[in-house]
Structures are given as C-alpha cells and as structure tokens.
Symmetry: C2
Subunit: 201 residues, 2 copies
C-alpha cells in the first residue's frame, strides 16, 4: 500500500532549508510548504536572488567586505580618510560601525579572531594582509575594533605586538557601561573596566 | 563619501528571505550572510531545490495533496481502501493521519475551513469536488477529520448537512483528553467533550 508522503523534490527542498542557520526541521517544512502554496512567483524570485548573490558577490581584496568588484567602493573612495584603519573581526562588523557615522576611515576585516579552542590561529586570519596594508598605505592610526571578550583581546594584543616596530598609533575601542545601562545591569568585569577606563569630566 | 553598505544583490536577497514565514529581518540577514560565506555550493543547491519544487509539484486533482503527477500515488493505489474517505482541511493534515498507520482509505483536502471572519465561504473550498467524489466513488464512510475548533466544527456540520441525502455514513474524529494528558492540564471544554463522548469499558 502506498503511503502519503512528500514527493522527493519537496523532501530535497526541506533538506536544503534545514541547513540554513536558525532553521529547524519544523520551520524548514513550513517554509517549503509556503514556497509551494504561495501562488505568485515569490519562491522563484528567491531562487533567482540566491543565484544572483552567489554570482555577483566577492570579498573585497583589500578590506574583506562584500563587494561586486575586486576592490569595494569604500576602499576605492578617495573621500574616505586613508590615515585611519579600523580592524574588525568579521566583514559584518563593519555595518554597525558605519551606522554610528563616527568613523570616516577605512576598514580591514580579519575574518575571525585567534581562538585555539576552535583551531583558529593567526595564519587563518587576514593578519599578514593587514601588516602589508600598514606598510604600503601607511595609516597614522590603527583602531582595533575587536570583541571585548578573551579571544578578541588576545587577537588585539597579538596584532599590537606585531605592529610595535611600525610608526603607527594603535588604539582599541573603549570598554565600559553600555549607553543607557545602569550599574545594576552591568556585570563586575564591565564595571571594573569602566572604573579603570574612567574619563575626566 | 561612500558608506559601507550591502551591495544591491545582497539587499535583494535579504528582502526575499524576509518574506518567508517565521523569518524576520535579523534572521534574513543571517541566512543571506551564511549563503555568501558558506564556501561550498549549499546556497546554489537550495536555489536549485526551490526551482525543482516549483516546476515539479502540483496539487493532486483528486485529493489535493502534493503530487508530481496530475493524480497522486495514494489516489492511484488500488491497494488503498476506496470505501473510506477522510476529509481534512489542509493537504498537510494528511501526513499526521498517515503517521498513525491507522487509516488505509483515501483523502480529500478542502483547502481550508469555512470562516466568515477570514472571508472564506464554502465556495472557496473544495466542497463541490468532495460531493462529486462521493457521488462517483461511492465511499461507504466519510470521516470528517477537521479541527476541533469553531470553524472546523461549522465546516463539518455544513458538509454533513449537504450529504444527509446521500447513502454514506458520516463520522468525525473523537474529541477528548489528549493521550498522556491528565485532567489538570485540560481545559473545561475538552473535559466536557471527553465526558459527553465517554466510552464504555
């Protein structure tokens, strides 16, 4: 006796959808059924958008951000301040920094941070490329905008040590209370860092 | 000055992903970046799977389930009992019924239930097709497996009234305590239905 079950193409689609981050088996099934049942061409548009992205997007060979050309628009822009270079872990970290509107310089994404537990060493990151850029572009300041956790700090220290011989100012993001947050919501480490980094009024 | 922002193809992809059920702007962005950054061909496989599904899947012209042919395998199967016809709201409701292994008959998906508040009337559902099937296939029993809520019951009653003149037994799913659930977790309506539907030991 035949049992009712999804045809193979639907099963294959659910299998592919399940691989997406944050999408479990239930959501994958729900999305697959939505794709089948939505009467208009939504799902074909999505398939097209995926193909377009994989065809057009490449990492900028300088900063590592998503780009449609070998070098991205920000790296090419003569109006951006090339004396300041901001180092981030991931290319996606560039967007929140841009949203502040407080930085007019250029970026360099490492592609991660040194993390022995995850088998990520300096050679897995774009640190050599950073040193090379410092040598050729000669920025006057390197801002290390890495995470305020153990791996982020270790990576910052590693890079700072590498650049110690280079005539460049090295800074890193301040650590302290988050904006709008009272002391009652901050953990001890945050408060102790806010204390030691206190600024004069 | 150029600001760093996602290239248009990434923005388009995020826009398409956001339309999927249960996927908000944040998840859409996360999925898009995963598609770009996953080094293997995952995302192209997904695009292909979506295109495949939209090309191959159609509703079975008899029962309404997902099918790769005009009539699905279950409707075509001579080994399935054609004297019992189980009516469900959505084609997806067929799978949980199949999983029980307790039903060997055929199915008919209405495509929804009567719901005046959602502007769904009998004419929007596959009720005419059901009456036609009862007339031509002459099942001996119709099992109404619709939801145990107001709309499901109204739709069951509506169909039962339409078929009153037809020599077919009409039944519907039992209502009562869910398996494994104690009285302390059941609401009053469930308990009152379990009471009125009590079975002899």
């Amino acid at each position: 006796m035949k049992r009712a079950e999804y045809p193979p193409t639907i099963k294959a689609l659910i299998g592919e959808l399940k691989r997406m981050p944050g999408v479990g088996p239930r959501s994958a099934e729900r999305i697959a059924l939505w794709m089948i049942q939505s009467r208009d061409a939504h799902s074909l548009e999505l398939a097209r958008a995926i193909t377009e992205v994989t065809k057009t997007i490449q990492p900028c060979s300088k900063c590592g951000f998503f780009s449609i050309s070998p070098v991205c628009e920000v790296c090419e822009d003569p109006e951006r301040d090339s004396t300041a270079l901001c180092v981030v872990e991931q290319p996606t970290d560039i967007l929140p920094l841009e949203r502040t509107g407080a930085f007019r310089g250029k970026y360099h994404a490492l592609g991660g941070r040194i993390s022995p537990l995850d088998h990520v060493g300096p050679e897995d990151l774009r640190i050599d490329a950073l040193i090379e850029r410092v040598r050729t572009e000669k920025p006057s300041e390197i801002i290390l905008a890495l995470g305020a956790d153990v791996e982020g700090e270790a990576t910052s220290n590693y890079i700072a040590a590498l650049l110690r011989q280079t005539p460049v100012l090295i800074s890193r993001l301040a650590q302290g209370l988050p904006a709008g947050g009272g002391l009652e919501h901050a953990d001890e480490l945050t408060i102790s860092r806010a204390l030691s980094g206190r600024t004069r009024l």
